[in-house]
Amino acid sequence: MIGELVGTVGEAVEIKGYAQNYRAPIAAMQFSADEGDTWTTYPTTGAEQDRNVNWSFTFTPAASGHYRLLVRAVGGDGRITPEPALVHLSVSEASRAPRELL
């Protein structure tokens, strides 16, 4: 687990990692920012079993708050990561220039 990432609304955040599986190739990566209620799936078609999948996911928070991004992998045998990786993000409102405040 990495430390909490701190940024502002409208600023893109890039997260990198790996997925590894002994039993079958990695078939997809999944991301959730609502405690696992919904998962967005990105296929990794053609991935080979004996190598890790190095992945990168970039998104831009549209609202301030504290986010918990969950990351998991799907194996070619249908098995899903039992314990997803977790990234904490703290997003604050973008600071405004003094002129904009007047």
Partner: protein, 281 residues
Amino acid sequence: MTKIDKKMISLIASGTIVLASAPAVQAMAATDDTAGVTDQTMAADAATSAISDAAQSPSSIKNIQGTFTWNQSASMDNPMLARTLYQSSRYLCGAQGNQLDGAALTSATTAESAPTSSIETIEVKGDVGNAFTATISDYEKKAPVMRTFACTCKGNPADGRASANVEVKGFKLSALLRDADPADDVNTITFTSSDGYSVSLPLSYVMQRYSIIVTSANGEDMSDALGCSNQLWLGSTSARSFVKDVVSIELTCEANPPAAPGMSEDANQPNVGVVSGAFES
């Protein structure tokens, strides 16, 4: 309306406080001018609880969208590989770490601390038609392999760091075994290290996988890269980097052949690790 109620409503109206839960709102509404001190206290407690919940509850995004990329070609550099998989995790990785009886631990410790010496040959023996001494440089030419492999420590936890791709070079173990001409009933292969440590595996298990005697990692000799002269690497295996500094391979027929290295059902497989993250600025 009490002073507490008025103050709380003022804070809510100003946006200073956002109530997150309906019960808290109901609790606030339940208090009026006729309510006693207990009710006021309950309302204040409920509001405080709601404020705390609001501060701690994570924000959420349904069906999060972003840009996703992936590859399998990027390798971890050797200094990082040595730190992540060979030094800090040495007792959790591979056969020299995961069978920790006292003797094995002593042997593994000795192997880790001994100066690396160049191993130029491997003795091939046992129930074979052709026992011989294989020269490593000959087999590097005869059956060369260069391939990117994942190297994962068996003890790597959920979201752990001890897993990485490495571009390894060496020779196919199958070529060496073919030249040895094992007897039909051979079912066990035993690898022995220069320090005397040995591990036995089912021959069928080794033959069904990508099995390589690795002599370089990411273009660097193993001795410089990872502090050993050579190393057995097995594909699709929970501890891919098995025996280091292999000096002999024995093929035998055993009444009770060793069990295949397994993977517990409750292991976090497939595993995912987050290694870095940053906002763009």
